[in-house]
Each structure stands twice: as C-alpha cells, then as structure tokens.
Amino acid sequence: MDIINKVESLCPECLRKIEGVKYVEDGKVFIKKECDDHGSFTALISNDVDHYRKMEECFDVDRKRVKAPLTDVDKGCPFDCGICPSHKQDTCLAVVEVTDRCDLDCTYCFANSSMDKSLDPDMETIRKMFETVKKCQNDPTCIQISGGEPTLRDDLPEIIKMGREMGIDHIELNTNGRRIAKDQEYFDKIASAGIDSIYLGFDGVSDDVYMQRTGKKLFDVKSEVINRCEKADIGVVLVPLVAKNYNLHETGKIIKFASNKVPTVRGVHFQPVFYSGRSPSMLEGKITIVELLEAIEDQTNGQLKVENFTPSLMPTAHCGTTCLTLVNNGEFIPLTNTSLGAAKSAFDVASKTKNSIMGRWKGSEKEKEDDDSSCCGEIIAKGSCCEKQIDVTSLDTSCSNSEGGWADFIEMSKDNYLTISMMAFQDVWSYERERVENCCIHVVTENGKFIPFCNYNLTNCKGEYLYRNTG
C-alpha cells in the first residue's frame, strides 16, 4: 500500500468530517477513511494510478475566486456553503433549478421529483436567484436552467427572458426534450426568449436504453429535439448518464451519432452515475473516469484515445476530462492530448479558430462559395492573391488529385468541432474536500446561496442530504 496523500472527507453514515488516506494498491487508487462511530470505508477512485497521476501532471489552471462570497466561514468546509470566503474557485456555471417536478420516473436521478406544482419557486424567487448569480459570479455570467424538468413550467419563456433582461450572458437549458419535441410553439417561445444552448439528456442511440431507465421509447424524441434546434440555430450538448449494465456499451455510438450532427451538436458530456437521492441501487453500475475513457477508446476503434482527454479546466485534475476533436468525413482528428498539456477552454478554442479562419477568408468568401467550392486549388489560389511571385492560379488544374487536401481541412474546421467531456460527480464515499472547495459548478438556492454541485447533491447512505432541501 502506497500512500498518495491524506484526504479530508465525510462519514457515509453521519456526514461528520473525517480523515482518510488516498493510496495505491494493485495499480488502482482508493480512498480509505474512518469514523469513530461508524468504522472504516473504502472507495475506488481510479482504476489506473498512472492515468491518475498523468491528469495531475497536465492539469493547469489560473485560479480566480468568486466576485463576492455569500456566506461567512464558520463551521469549516463543507458546512459553510456558500460560497464562503475560503472557496478557491470562481463559478463557471450556476445551476438554477426552477422546479422539482419531472415527467419521467427515472431509475437514476439525483433530483427529487415531487409532482407538487405549488413548490416551484415563483418569479420573484427566481429573480432573486438570478440576482445572486450577478452578485457572486464574475462576468460573463453563465447559468443552466435545470430541475426537475424545467419545461414543465409554462412560464419558462418568461423566466429566460427575465434572465436575459437582467444581463445574464449565457443561458442553457437542461431538459429531457419531451416537450420540445412535441410542442413547437413552446419551443419557439423558448428560442426567441434567448436560450443559447440545450443540454439534452441523451443516454443512448437505441430505445432499449431508454426503456431500461424510463420505460419509454425516447430515441425519436431526442432526434426531433436536435432537428428543431438545428432549424432554430441553437447548439445542443448531449448528456448521457453512464453506468455499467446500462449504456456503457453505447458510448462509442453516442459519440458517432453526435459527430454526424455537428455543428448543431457541439458536444457530448458524459456523467458517470453517482450515488445520491433516488439511485440507491446504482453502486454496482458506477464507473470511474478511466474506465469510461477506455470504453470510448475501444468503441471508437482507437480514434479517440484515453490520452486525447485532458483534465477539464477550472475545478481539479480529477473532476473531469475533455477532448476537443475535429470531425472530418466521419474521421476524428483529436486536438487535445495529455502529452501537450491541458487545453484551455475547448469552446474558446473553437470560436477562436473560427474567428481567425473567418477573418482569413474574409472577402474571398463569396466568390468561393459560388463555384466549385470543394476545389482545393481554388481556395489556395485565393489565399495567394496578394503575392505575385508565383502564379498559383494554374494550380486548380490539379484539384482532382487533391480532394481532402489541406484547404479542405481548413474549410471543414470552420464548423466541425466536437467537444467530448465528462464530469465525475462525487458521492459520500469518493468525497474529497479538496475537490469541492475548488468546485466551479454551483447550484443557486432559493435563499440566495451558491452550493458546489457535489455538496448540493450529497447524501449519506440513508439518502439524507447535506444541503439539498435543507433550506
């Protein structure tokens, strides 16, 4: 047993703060901790210590704190959320839950799903939640409207509009997509109210998967949502919850499906299942990041490799990984690799590249579009218009040989980015204080606090919450 470091964690029984160690055994990483009253607990953190260490090596972040803390330091982390002054990381996404209600009865779900409409926060409360965001998060402010299922609210368009008017910069909607797929009028209202992207629950490309979780065939529903978003020019991120004995075998197909829907689909964000609330039976289904990455490598026939996933920016080296890839005629060209260090924000990279490319072709864009725009020589010739030394216009005679050449590569790069990411939410077994105090996903509460997502959804082994529903 090779000890990595000490950790501060919580007792899965009584949620008291206890200490433990992170150690290596048989090449795997575990956390073992002990409560005076409830004995010792061991949890698997990573199946591959080399990968675990690699993530640490290439993790790189300039930390920035929140604009203004909302609570004081009193009982110590994690009991002062938040955000308290000792929290080390700014918010990258503020989650605003607008209802607990849900129209699906999922096997795995960390939300509560009562059906009582009167418990939904009213507009005034939501306004306060948005104000909390403006107060705490540095610009640009980014929120995710979540639930429950937010589209159960008829006033969702007004909520979005209010957020816009209050100056929230980016608003994404987390949804199962059912209402969007069947209610075009409602979707139009959401779209014109100013939604930036849809975070679409998407567990697989076969109805078997949806049947298992929800008892309903939902694949067509999901496809329809993507079609509608394409028409409305709204980006979609597919969000598969992943577990063993559920959909782990479909991760490759999900990525493939996403790559065919680029640029409407901008990313796939995997969420390994975690123990909380209503998913007591899922412990066997739990997977670690490296297991998921290995499944992806395997199921994409090595086109996306474990090493193409670098630690996600912001929280810690072990919260998540991200791969940015170009998609070219069904082929993946991953742009991230642990040997190159961490990528800065993937979406930034995409838009930066896009801008530089748009700028580069500005002016010649139109003419190029008119005639045979797939002709490589044509584009290259345009690129050389400012120099007279070599007459390259004659080069378009060789086009036919050069299809799929570098010029096409550039054309393709304008739109065909896909970001594949994952976040390994913590449960009371894997819980590490170091991770939550650097957490960047914060749930906004109705009483004006920001709670790191992993704390918000944390329960003990009896399903009792540390924060959620505790006022």
């Binding site: 190159l340 690129g383 050389s384 030394q389 070599i390 005679t397 040989n401 590569f409 550039i410």
Partner: protein, 156 residues
C-alpha cells in the same frame, strides 16, 4: 554579398521572426550549390532551407547592385512525398513557371502529402521531375499556416 529589401519586406521578416543573416545564408547556399528554382522568364529565384521543424523559402532577384529580397515565407509541415508515391504523367499541362536550376528541368505542379501533428493531407507543390526536390508557393504556405494553427490550438 549584400541583401537589399524594401521596408515592407523588412517588416515581414520581423513579423515572421526571421533574422536577416539566416535568410542571407539560405540564399548564399543556393547560389553556391545551385539548388534553387529560377523563373522561366524573369531573374527571380526561390531558395529554400529544410531544417527539422521548419522549411523556409526566400524569393529574390539578382541585379547589378546585389540581391533584392522580395519575399520570405515558411511552413512547419513536413513534406512526406508525392501523393500517390510516384511522378506519373498527367494529361493536363502541369508545367510550372519555374525551372530547377540544378537540373535545368521545368518543374511540375503536383500534389504532395504533407504532415503535421499526426495529420496528413495533400497540397500542391512545385516538383522538379529529375531531382524531385519540392517547393511550396507563398500562397500554399499561407494555407498551410492556417492549418498548422488550427492543429496547434490544442496548446493554445
């Protein structure tokens, strides 16, 4: 031998991070070993330098007063070889405006495979049919540079 250049070219050198001495060396070498392209009808030459990670080209003319540097450009991509492997006859007129000075052969316009950061694609180059030396035009180099920067975004 002295190199003359306009202010514009001086700025280009600065912007692209080339030193005047480096360029001078490339040209001097080409002048002494003859490894360069000469334009069909003008006294314009292209010399190049293949170093491990960068291929640099200098376009210049020679007159009584010495060497006038007209343009400098480069690419990081590695040229692997002719697309398809061999230099086949093609039906269309594939002769370039350039002559390989060493072989005294008119160079041809052909696609070559170029690789960068694990990705290989084709692009047009100027190839001497005899010594099979490859040259890339300024216009193509600009395209390659864009592609290079796309692939480099991963380190951004």
């Amino acid at each position: 031998m002295d190199i003359n250049m306009t202010e514009e070219v001086q700025n280009l050198l600065k912007d692209e991070g080339f030193k005047k001495e480096e360029i001078q060396e490339i040209i001097e070498k080409a002048e002494s070993n003859g490894k360069k392209l000469k334009h069909k009808s003008e006294d314009t030459f292209i010399a190049k330098d293949d170093s491990e990670n960068l291929t640099t080209y200098a376009v210049y003319t020679i007159s009584g007063e010495g060497i006038n540097l007209n343009n400098v450009y480069s690419h990081k991509m590695h040229i692997d070889g002719l697309t398809g492997g061999e230099l086949h006859e093609v039906e269309n007129d594939d002769q370039s405006e350039w002559i390989c000075q060493k072989c005294n052969e008119t160079a041809l316009e052909r696609n070559v495979d170029m690789s960068y950061m694990g990705v290989t694609r084709a692009g047009p180059a100027i190839v001497c049919p005899k010594c099979q030396e490859f040259y890339v035009s300024d216009g193509v180099a600009k395209t390659l540079k864009t592609a290079e920067s796309i692939l480099e975004e991963k380190r951004a």
